[in-house]
């Protein structure tokens, strides 16, 4: 009797096409959500490092974008968890990583590192905004009547303030010291948050593409690159929105009470701030891009040179199956082109924004080429697998591990930022420092 009843599609089968000799249990198990996860944590780490450039190293010129980057990195944080929840076969058991962490596994670091990082960023935002929170409490209390939103906001501020209402000079000095300490402490933690993601791949000896000691470093550098690029393009877009509103005498993305009357709706002021911040940040983007590309090329050159047993299969994947994805999309469009755009003298805000978009695309392709690329060849070294991203979902699995799930992950930080911005205005320009 031939066992040929109705097929039961196993996890991974819907989007994997096998070619030549592939083992029966091999599928692309780590698909789009595992591409998104290091991408999102990279954005978190990068945004935080950008913010720290001001708070720790005192790069005055980055002051305005630093505040924005800090709030945005906090909005990105819960989104970093989302791809994992969408990927896990047992998402309700995700808490087990905190309950019984097996520290011999890189993934176990997720629970602790993520929580530590969330606490640091949360605390830093608290210190940066504490004066504003106390001022807001007094301001809201002083109003004759409050809308529902106003009452809710007052409650939120009261809770967040933790009762620390002292806004004397010494208290604010203490706040600044705490911010500097936390921003400094946060940099190695941010590096760990993303370095461990690189370690997840780099330590898998079973996978010929992933295993390299360079992986954690490559991931960290491209994470910082992506974070900075995201901040540049987001800041550019948000400021464009504010400039558009200012032309019509309106103020958006900043609580009216904070608008200090004139400068928040002054087109010229907004334009000059946007110009300045974007151009300054672009310089730092170039530095980290150089570092990232050097490491990636080094890894590839070593592989080709040493040509170990897996090289024949890897070569087929790198130079044939994934040639366009690696050399055209990641290296040319995602790296070389923005590099040139930023190096040409007379960088304009538009050009920097375009370069940032290309960089973001390039880093996404890098994640894709590592994660999917590592599963593109069989353990047999005599077969290949092709990954087909599910575009139109026909069940929950093809949604959450398909284009739908990826779009959800990309959209969420912006939605979160919108609400977070109401509590911690990211665009307020503080008087002192």
């Amino acid at each position: 009797m031939v066992e040929q009843v109705a097929q039961m599609v196993v996890h991974g089968e819907a989007w994997t096409v096998k070619d030549l000799f592939v083992l029966p249990n091999e599928y692309v198990y780590w698909s789009i959500q595992i591409v998104m996860y290091p991408y999102m944590t990279g954005l978190v780490a990068g945004a935080f490092v950008l913010s720290s450039l001001y708070h720790v190293f005192g790069v005055e010129k980055l002051k305005q974008i630093a505040r924005f980057a800090l709030v945005f990195s906090f909005a990105l944080l819960p989104v970093a968890m989302l791809p994992l929840l969408l990927h896990l076969m047992q998402p309700f058991r995700g808490i087990h990583v905190l309950m019984t962490p097996h520290f011999t596994s890189a993934i176990s670091a997720f629970g602790i590192v993520f929580m530590t990082y969330a606490c640091i960023v949360g605390a830093e935002i608290w210190f940066v905004y504490r004066e504003f929170i106390v001022d807001s409490i007094h301001r809201l209390k002083g109003l004759p009547s409050l809308s529902v939103f106003g009452r809710l906001l007052l409650l939120v501020y009261k809770v967040i303030s933790l009762g620390a209402t002292d806004t004397s000079r010494e208290a604010l000095e203490s706040d600044h010291k705490a911010v500097k300490f936390l921003a400094g402490l946060g940099i190695p933690v941010a590096c760990f948050l993303h370095g461990y993601a690189g370690f997840i791949f780099g330590s898998v000896k079973a996978n010929a593409l992933w295993m390299t000691p360079l992986m954690p470093v490559i991931f960290i550098c491209s994470a910082i690159v992506s974070g900075i690029a995201l901040c540049i393009i987001s800041y550019y877009i948000f400021m464009e929105m504010r400039k558009w509103a200012a032309k019509r005498g309106k103020n958006i993305l900043l609580p009216d009470a904070m608008a200090h009357g004139s400068s928040a709706v002054d087109y010229e002021h907004l334009r000059s701030v946007q110009d300045h911040e974007v151009k300054m940040t672009s310089r730092y983007l170039l530095i980290f891009m150089t570092l990232a590309i050097t490491l990636e090329l080094l890894d590839m050159i070593f592989r080709g040179y040493t040509a170990v047993k897996s090289w024949d299969a890897l070569r087929m994947v790198i130079y044939e199956h994934d040639f366009v994805k690696i050399f055209i999309m990641q290296y040319a469009i995602g790296n070389a082109l923005p590099f040139i755009l930023l190096l040409i003298p007379g960088v304009t805000v538009r050009r920097a924004a375009l370069a940032s978009i290309l960089v973001l695309f390039g880093v996404l392709m890098m994640r894709w080429n590592v994660v999917i690329g590592g599963q593109a060849f069989s353990l047999t070294f005599n077969g290949f697998m092709h990954y087909q991203l599910p575009i139109i979902p026909h069940n929950f699995e093809t949604f959450k591990e398909g284009l739908g799930g990826a779009m959800l992950v990309i959209a969420t930080p912006f939605v979160l930022f919108y609400f977070l911005n109401m509590i911690f205005p990211a665009f307020m320009e503080s008087k002192e420092h």
């Binding site: 040929q4 196993v10 030549l20 000799f21 249990n25 058991r93 993934i107 898998v204 353990l379 047999t380």
Partner: protein, 258 residues
């Protein structure tokens, strides 16, 4: 001041020393990798005897509730056809669930390949299953302690604790792990732990094999037939370059078998 400094320095010194001593104790290999001295399960595969009937694959699925209609399997058989021109063709249609009934070699997307008898220099079958390694990479990478090795060497998955991240599946160099399509957790060959742990029990696959190509045994028992072969004959293992120390031994391995 001096007393406070002295106390502080002593405290630091004592905690530093205790941490170091604790680490040495914790990392002591003797204590860390203890196992049973009387029982260590191992497996012997004789690739000369395997005829590719696939009864083992079917028996395993029936015995262990792996849905027959799902394209995952705890064990499988591979066919190797080595042509006289040196080219090697390999396949494993449905893991050999229905045996090998066609001379056409299944190359998946690349279609079926026909090889004339005259072109064949060598051809044989290689059954594979979980190697229940001594230092299993899959266990090392589990983030929550859901997969583990018992004292008698068998590597198991705790179905109630596994979060389904798939790290163990990626970490296994042999590709023996998969997601159970109904339980939605990681799964793999258990050496039929429920059968071998009853005195005299045999694994479903070894029992189903009419030709004696598969055999389970206790590597700590010098009189065990498997142990005798492993000790006295030329046996090989799969992919030992990964350092996992696999405990499934093969007679008749060839350089093409990876």
């Amino acid at each position: 001041m001096k007393r406070r400094d002295f106390l502080k320095n002593t405290a630091v010194f004592v905690s530093g020393v205790s941490a170091s001593v604790a680490a040495l104790e914790w990392l002591d290999p003797q204590k860390v990798l203890a196992s049973r001295s009387d029982l260590r399960w191992g497996f012997l595969v004789d690739t000369h005897k395997c005829v590719g009937c696939g009864f083992c694959v079917k028996a395993c699925k029936v015995e262990n509730d792996i849905p027959v209609e799902a394209n995952v399997t705890r064990t499988w058989v591979e066919r190797y056809v080595i042509k006289k021109d040196g080219k090697v063709l390999m396949d494993s249609p449905k893991g050999a669930l229905n045996g090998f009934t066609s001379e056409d070699i299944d190359q998946n997307q690349s279609g079926m390949k026909k090889v004339a008898d005259e072109e064949i220099a060598q051809a044989f079958f290689v059954p594979k299953l979980c190697n229940h390694c001594d230092t299993p990479a899959c266990v090392q990478v589990c983030p929550v302690g859901a997969t583990y090795q018992a004292a008698d060497g068998v590597v198991l998955v705790d179905r109630k604790w596994c979060i389904g991240c798939g790290y163990c599946i990626m970490g296994c160099p042999y590709g023996v792990r998969f997601f159970h399509p109904i339980e939605n957790v990681a799964d793999k060959c258990t050496f039929c732990y429920h059968r071998i742990s009853i005195g005299g029990g045999n694994t479903a696959c070894a029992q189903a094999c009419p030709f004696g190509a598969r055999q389970i045994g206790n590597l700590r028992d010098p009189n065990d037939p498997v142990t005798k072969v492993v000790m006295n004959q030329r046996v090989g293992v799969l992919r030992d370059e990964y350092g996992t120390k696999p405990q499934v031994f093969y007679l008749g391995l060839n350089k093409e078998v990876h």
